[in-house]
Symmetry: C2
Subunit: 205 residues, 2 copies
DNA sequence: CAGGGCGGTTAGCGGTCGTTAACCTGAGGA
DNA sequence: TCCTCAGGTTAACGACCGCTAACCGCCCTG
């Protein structure tokens, strides 16, 4: 984990506040003056650190995607040969991210289309690789699951995990650990059920 | 169901196109000229039908929330006394909505903060009632599940079901029915797992 | 102690956006 | 036949937004 001890750089402050504001009000809904104000400088001062508003979003989205993929690959490597452990570790990693960086997780699947072509392609490629990492892990645990269904299930689990930003009230549910455990259980349960009955009619109804 | 046969009103055309555009590029990312162009009229012509851009979003969001809640209540009433059937019916209804009205489901949890106070409160109240309907149904099937956990699980399942807009490619997965069945299985599996082990440590990790 | 550049400031420009004003047209009813 | 009015049109206004220009003070280094 290597928890940082040194003070955050001005660039990092800006990125953090920009992420929060973009997540709250949307990319187009936030002005550069507001971002500046959030870090104590005003408006055009941001251009000493970034080429423009687009560049902030691009750096955020590319950063998120790279971080997710890198972390996922590390976890997959650490647990190689133990499919159950790999899947659990991937889930755990994604949960940590969703709980600790809510604004980023929100941006990640919401503002992708606001990027320049080149950046958008890069982010999409990283996202695709991350999905494939999950699909492989899921299919090792549940070999009966067809690839298309595995991929759809993985997307669905992402949706489940990324729902944390609009949980009732942060604090209603006991604490962070309990939420993490619950999300973990929900994810495993969903995937197990996906693999359970592949055939046409599910069970009831 | 009462499938409509008469031609859609101009207002309805506008709302439909506005929903699609808002979902694609965000509320602030779409101009009134584009919405007008999408229905063959241009720009200010929209003001013959709506008080403003905000009014379109408001009508969309209130409409969605009312439709979800009304449909949910009807389904709950139809299956009263049979908790499993109620839960299945709620899931089925939400899936139908997510698959048939993707833009609306996207808007529903994304652009809420762009509403005027009065409209936002109304939408939130409708959403809250819809959640409570689900929570009640879930807890009847899984009485062991604490309320806070049930509520969080319901939000998570919403996230799962609402993930359909960014499924890989519509068409990769066999067809609509197969997707619906998969989503149903995933949801039931997740909820069952939530109720399964309430205690601290989940299983592996 | 001089000087340079990093990281700010304010003023302002150009473009876009939501909205209004003023005008027009074609169909329906008295 | 004429009036009305629903439902369009184009022009234009005011506000806002992203970004650049021009300027400035402070710290660090030679």
């Amino acid at each position: 984990m290597a928890t940082r001890t040194d003070a955050p750089t001005r660039r990092e402050q800006i990125l953090k506040e920009a992420a929060r504001l973009f997540a709250e009000r949307g990319f187009h809904g936030v002005g550069v003056d507001e971002i500046g104000a959030a870090v104590g400088i005003s408006g055009p001062g941001l251009y000493r650190h970034f080429a423009g508003k687009d560049a902030m979003l691009a750096e955020l989205l590319v950063g998120i995607s790279e971080q997710l993929l890198t972390g996922g690959r590390r976890r997959a490597a650490e647990t190689a040969g133990a499919p159950e452990a790999t899947l659990d570790s991937l889930i755990e990693g994604h949960i940590d991210f969703a709980l600790d960086d809510r604004p980023l997780i929100t941006l990640h699947d919401r503002e992708l289309d606001r990027l320049r072509d080149t950046d958008r392609k890069r982010v999409r490629q990283l996202q695709r690789q991350y999905v494939e990492l999950w699909v492989a892990a899921v299919r090792e645990v549940y070999p009966a699951l067809a690839e298309a269904e595995a991929r759809a299930s993985v997307h669905a689990v992402f949706g489940l995990l990324n729902s944390t930003p609009h949980l009732p009230r942060p604090g209603t549910l006991p604490d962070r650990d309990a939420t993490a455990h619950l999300l973990h259980r929900l994810s495993r349960g969903a995937l197990a059920a996906a693999a359970g009955a592949g055939g046409p009619s599910p069970s009831g109804a």
